[in-house]
């Protein structure tokens, strides 16, 4: 009896400890992750449908074409009868378009365009079309339909849209998708011919279509232009799909400059196909400088999207030229005011051109140079901010036979230059002297041009005159 008690006692003890939590109490915590996964939706819907031959009241003459849509282009033509028409509508299920041809007859033709968009939340790829259950998976594919099951084809349909493999982002509209319909000889009399169109799309990362690859050539462009000049000629970039034959490149082009333009800005290319994109620039309002921009060509489905074309625009400052004529001058032969003559408008006009209308100095030249005996010319101005590229003096004169020396000096607004001694022309023979004022006399800015003065002096052993025809400063400059 006592032994039994001893055996039961530990059991009771352990039970009691378990109940009270004394013996097995330990520290622990539970950390919790609670998650929710909201899945997206793959969906697309037709958004519009249109065609060439709507029914009454908006009726138009019927179109026709040859069997198998044979040429020549454009393969169909408008007839002079209006008896048949087509109804094409999006059904209550926006994934289906129902087409019904009414009162039509062999050779009746119609071109039907449908529009669709990705109405889901997941990118999708258009993989195939179903025309009354017939699978169409290729551009330019033709199918023939026996709608009444009599063993003869009633309609032929030519799929004209390159959309298979096309990827659409959520909310993105697909391109216009067209197909042609032609009524064949086997069409039954007195029956409405109807069929349905559907598109099959798959989640973008499940498509078995080969992916396109973007090709661009060249990948850099340079445009040169001058401020105020015309826009440079447009250049082209070849956009190509270098992916495999079954791939479809649905490219779009964007750029990051307001002066840069592309045309077209989008396109669809099958594998191996290419097209030209014209790139142009508009320099209106742009100051001189070098501009850089990037054209980005992308297709979310491409293996190498995006690709870029770098564009450089070198916009040179405008180069202006001006022929500056004397607009004032003085003919002086002594120190006092009475020993001078300010050149008149009439005098100045004589100096405007090499036209043998001569200005003769007012007083015979002395037999040696005198500081107060000269003819001096001042000239018209150029824009104060101009950068002078060149300045050339044209000085036409002739002398009496006794004039034995002549020289020019140039005032640049700050100081007189050293003298330039003129080669003596034959007596009474006019000669034109050309002086490079920029390289020879340092006239290289607007201030110096605008303060330019040319002084002529001569000596005469017998007391005679000189004659002056054309005096002009030819300037090129940039603003």
């Amino acid at each position: 009896m006592r032994d039994i008690r001893l055996a039961v006692l530990p059991v009771l003890l352990v039970a009691g400890m378990l109940l009270t939590g004394v013996a097995f109490a330990h520290w622990s915590e539970a950390l919790l992750l609670t998650g929710s996964v909201a899945t997206g939706v793959l969906d697309w819907q037709f958004t519009a449908v249109g065609h060439l031959d709507p029914g009454p009241p908006a009726s138009v003459p019927d179109y026709h074409c040859r069997d198998n849509f044979e040429g020549p282009p454009p393969y169909y033509w408008m007839g002079d009868k209006d008896v048949g028409y087509t109804r094409a509508e999006i059904t209550d299920d926006a994934h289906v378009i129902e087409v019904t041809l009414n009162n039509v007859y062999p050779s009746y033709f119609n071109s039907i365009s449908v529009y669709f968009k990705n109405t889901g939340s997941v990118p999708l790829i258009i993989e195939k079309a179903l025309i009354d259950g017939h699978v169409v998976m290729g551009w330019n594919e033709k199918v023939r339909l026996d709608l009444n099951g009599d063993g003869e084809n009633d309609l032929e349909i030519w799929w004209k849209a390159n959309i298979f493999g096309l990827q659409l982002e959520p909310g993105e509209d697909g391109p216009e998708t067209s197909f042609w319909v032609h009524v064949l000889q086997g069409a039954p009399w007195g029956a409405s011919l109807g069929f349905t169109i559907q598109l099959i799309a798959v989640q973008y990362n499940f498509s078995e279509y080969p992916k396109p690859t973007i090709g661009l050539n060249p990948t850099s462009l340079t445009f040169d232009a001058v401020v105020g000049g015309s826009n440079p000629s447009p250049q082209t970039v070849t956009v190509s799909n270098t992916g495999s034959a079954g791939s479809l490149l649905h490219w779009t082009a964007t750029d990051d400059a307001t002066w840069l333009f592309e045309s077209p800005t989008s396109g669809i290319l099958g594998g191996g196909a290419s097209q030209l994109m014209t790139v142009s620039v508009d320099i209106s309002g742009l100051p001189a400088g070098t501009y850089a921009a990037t054209i980005t060509v992308s297709d979310p489905n491409a293996t190498n999207s995006p690709q870029t074309v770098s564009v450089i625009l070198n916009l040179q400052p405008a180069i202006y030229s001006a022929n500056l004529h004397p607009n004032e001058g003085v003919d002086r032969w002594g120190k006092s005011d009475k020993d001078k003559k300010d050149l008149t408008e009439e005098d100045l006009n004589l100096l405007e051109a090499s036209d043998d209308n001569w200005y003769r100095n007012n007083k015979e030249w002395p037999n040696e140079y005198k500081d107060d005996h000269y003819i001096e010319f001042g000239f018209e101005n150029i824009s104060p901010g101009a950068t002078v590229l060149s300045a050339v003096l044209k000085f036409e004169w002739k002398r009496a036979g006794t004039v034995d020396n002549a020289r020019l000096s140039i005032w640049n607004g700050s100081s007189w230059s050293s003298y330039y001694y003129l080669p003596l022309p034959s007596p009474n023979t006019d000669t034109i002297v050309t002086l490079d004022l920029k390289t020879g006399y340092g006239i290289d800015n607007a201030f110096e041009v605008n303060n330019l003065r040319v002084r002529f002096q001569a000596t005469d052993g017998g007391g005679a005159y000189t004659w002056h025809d054309w005096v002009e400063v030819q300037v090129t400059y940039q603003l």
Binding site: H26, W27, S28, E29, A30, L31, L32, L33, T34, G35, S36, V37, A38, T39, G40, V41, L42, D43, G120, S121, V122, P123, E169, P170, Q203, Y204, N205, F206, S298, P300, S305, P306
Partner: protein, 176 residues
């Protein structure tokens, strides 16, 4: 005999009265004890979620929100679709003074489709460091790194909301 017993008793009595025989010195020794217990605790932190959608696609995402007590994370995956891997970095920190050990990770898949992958795996951003996995032991101030991995299979339905829970049980290191 009675006489002897009487004599012995009288002797004891006399000794007791006089205190001669039992007088001795005594002392008392005392041990005072104080037990300062440690602390035990673990906290979570969460990183920025990511997925393997192509660079030009960003229609779905995973994110995590840490609870105020840092003991829970609410994971949200939006606009998910099949064949995309979603990743959410998760760190587990030992904030107590007593080492902890990850005793278990319990994944309750909720209503997720059977072909869904839901797991906590090592975070490649922290190679060679502690991993959130059963048996990982952390000392005070140490962190274990992991990432929640979700992959929907083709059985996932469109427009659905699936829920799940993952519980990470940590215990005092010597009780695992």
């Amino acid at each position: 005999m009675k006489t002897a017993m009487g004599m012995f008793g009288a002797l004891m009595l006399a000794l007791a009265i006089t205190g001669v025989a039992f007088a001795h010195w005594t002392d008392t020794l005392v041990i005072n004890g104080t037990v300062n217990t440690g602390t035990f605790g673990a906290e979570l932190s969460v990183g920025e979620g990511y997925d393997n959608e192509p660079p030009d696609k960003n229609v779905s995402y995973i994110s995590g929100t840490l609870g105020d007590d840092k003991k829970s994370i609410t994971v949200t995956v939006n606009n998910a679709y099949p064949c995309i891997d979603y990743w959410l970095p998760i760190d587990l920190h030992c904030v107590g003074s007593v080492p902890l050990i990850i005793e278990s990770i319990v994944v309750d898949r909720g209503n997720l489709p059977e072909d869904t992958t839901l797991e906590i795996v090592a975070d490649p951003a922290h190679p060679g460091e502690n991993v959130i996995a059963k048996g990982t032991q952390l000392h005070r101030g140490q962190t274990a790194y992991g990432r929640l991995h979700l992959h929907l299979g083709e059985n996932a339905a469109q427009g659905q909301t699936y829920t799940f829970t993952v519980t990470i049980n940590v215990v005092q290191w010597n009780y695992a």
